[in-house]
């Protein structure tokens, strides 16, 4: 599991909700970092084989970290920044890039 190599208790935190679970995380973190630090590796299910997927590249190129953020699908968790109260769900439908 991913953990912080050094903890800074004074650093500001925000809370997001992932699949109904509250996760406290560093302000400014990416959604992917927040989920990884909370032990989550399973971000989406593939439409064809119903396989579990999670982040692979963390730099915006693989699209395996796709989640639904505040109701909007196809968001790259590794490129989105957390916001207090943000609701994140696993993506279960087809993946896409454009509108």
């Amino acid at each position: 599991m991913f953990t912080e190599i050094a903890t800074d208790p004074g650093a500001p935190t925000v809370t997001i909700v992932f699949e109904g679970r509250e996760i406290a995380t560093r302000a400014g973190a990416t959604v992917a970092a927040a989920l990884l630090a909370a032990g989550e590796l399973h971000f989406r299910d593939t439409p064809v084989g119903a396989e579990r997927r999670g982040p692979y590249c963390l730099m915006g190129v693989c699209f395996d970290c796709l989640v639904e953020i505040d109701g909007e699908p196809n968001r790259q968790a590794c490129m989105a920044t957390v916001r207090d109260g943000m609701r994140v769900e696993r993506q279960r439908g087809a993946a896409g890039i454009g509108p």
Partner: protein, 469 residues
């Protein structure tokens, strides 16, 4: 946002920052777009916002980026962080989204400095959660101070050792390093060693990492083949062949890496010519000595054009700036050549060890083109090597035809994670060279564009040359 820029730069890594500094110094109005929250690119990621992993963990090469990022901040170039470029048109219109708002900005010249990505590593189980690239492990460390204890690192290339070394310096235990450099690569690299020895310091640095990893008691197993990750819905164990036997290690996190290759999606979508680079087994955009592509006013620099490392990227960025300044008429060719000569000299020197490194760290053919038919090649559309082979047997000759047969390359990553594999697979299956097989066509948008952004799009809102919104 301000008037139409003379030069737009995509990417604020070493290449983009150096290009911006050089162009701004010459008095040009420069705009720099990067989707990251701060400058630095891959090597200097989060250079302005040091997290728990400081210079002691990330090393001197990382810390060295601070000088460049400061020069960049002071350069007068207009820098937009969090700016995703989803399109550049052949007539130099840059489509970019910032803060959920899309706009199109027309520039006199565009320098694409979007960098590299890690080469696909298509092995059984590489799609399981818990398998990530070593670069991803490093991004988590640099940007968020996160690391996973007892991971297995597998693959080849200098970056792999660097990242393991950074993990160890951060006090994070590593279970094993599985080295896939084929023995034949050492032999192939040997004739190129003399050229590289002129830059012995660089080579020693690499050897130093390997020694440090061994000294830390981490098993480094060399000459590994047949990597496979398995587990129920997530990585649980990694298997490999070594010394003629199969072995297995338990691991929840497997970090794979076999070098970096140019991210060609943007230059491809502009329509620039690309050639197959047999030494690095990848596509690269064709440029002249100034980074000019065959599309007028479009330049490419850094590891996104040709993988040569951060210092070569910095020098390449400076050359592209001179090329672009000359194209827009800010300087004449004599000035360009004069200023460029010492930079070109330094670049040639910097690239001296490259043929040796390219030969040594050229991934084994079996790690680029999976032998097993059930290995997933296209992660997005879940297409296997067997399906691609079967399609080739039906007479499909090229990647674009393949799309209509089996959807490979049609997912959101737009071929970034499968194009090289598909080209080499089809080359193997049809007995033709990669150049003849070709590559997927890439179309804009090359980055996700949200509906709300598109709806708010104002075409070329810098038209007329005065202040924008």
């Amino acid at each position: 946002m301000t008037a139409r820029p003379d030069i737009a730069v995509v990417g604020a890594g070493p290449a983009g920052m150096a290009a911006a500094v050089a162009a701004a110094e010459a008095g040009a109005h420069v705009m720099v777009f990067d989707e990251q929250p701060g400058p630095g690119g891959q090597i200097y990621r989060a250079i302005e916002t040091p997290g728990p992993a400081g210079d002691a963990v990330l090393g001197a090469d990382y810390a060295a980026g601070r000088g460049l990022s400061r020069a960049f901040r002071d350069s007068g170039a207009e820098y937009l962080p969090g700016a995703t470029v989803w399109q550049v048109s052949p007539d130099r219109e840059v489509g970019v989204s910032v803060d959920g708002r899309a706009r199109i900005i027309k520039a006199g010249a565009v320098i694409v400095a979007g960098g590299a990505l890690e080469r696909p590593f298509p092995i059984p189980g590489w799609t399981l959660p818990g398998v990530m690239t070593a670069g991803a492990a490093q991004i988590a460390l640099k940007a968020s101070g996160l690391a996973a204890a007892d991971a297995v690192f597998a693959g080849t290339g200098p970056l792999l050792y660097l990242i393991v070394d950074q993990y160890l310096k951060a006090g994070v235990p590593v279970r094993a390093v599985l080295e896939t450099t084929p023995w034949s690569a050492y032999l192939g690299a040997l004739p190129r060693l003399p050229g590289a020895l002129l830059r012995a310091g660089k080579l020693r640095q690499g050897l130093g990492y390997i020694r440090a990893i061994r000294d830390a008691g981490v098993p480094v197993i060399r000459g590994v083949s047949g990597l496979a990750v398995a587990g129920d819905g997530r990585a649980e164990r990694v298997a490999y062949t070594h010394g003629g036997h199969r072995h297995e290690i338990a691991a929840e996190h497997v970090f794979v890496h076999q070098g970096v290759v140019p991210n060609v999606n943007l230059t491809r979508s502009i329509g620039c010519r690309h050639d197959w680079d047999p030494a690095q087994a990848c596509w690269r955009v064709a440029t002249d000595a100034w980074g000019a592509t065959d599309v007028a006013g479009i330049f490419a620099a850094g590891d996104g054009a040709h993988v040569g490392g951060a210092e070569a990227a910095r020098l390449g960025g400076q050359l592209a700036a001179l090329g672009a300044l000359c194209t827009i008429g800010r300087i004449d060719a004599a000035v360009r050549n004069n200023r460029g000569a010492p930079i070109q000299h330094a670049l040639a020197w910097e690239l001296r060890p490259r043929p040796f490194l390219d030969a040594l760290y050229r991934p084994a053919a079996a790690d680029r083109v999976p032998a097993g038919d059930d290995v997933v090649v296209c992660r997005c559309e879940e297409v296997t090597a067997g399906e691609v082979r079967a399609t080739a047997a039906l007479g499909c000759l090229g990647p674009n035809q393949l799309k209509s047969f089996c959807r490979a390359g049609m997912g959101p990553c737009q071929g970034r994670l499968c194009a090289l594999t598909v080209t080499e697979l089809l080359a193997e299956a049809t007995g033709r060279p990669p150049d003849a097989v070709g590559d997927f066509r890439r179309r804009p948008p090359v980055k996700p564009l949200r509906l709300a952004e598109l709806a708010a799009l104002e075409p070329d809102d810098t038209d007329g040359g005065d202040a924008g919104p």
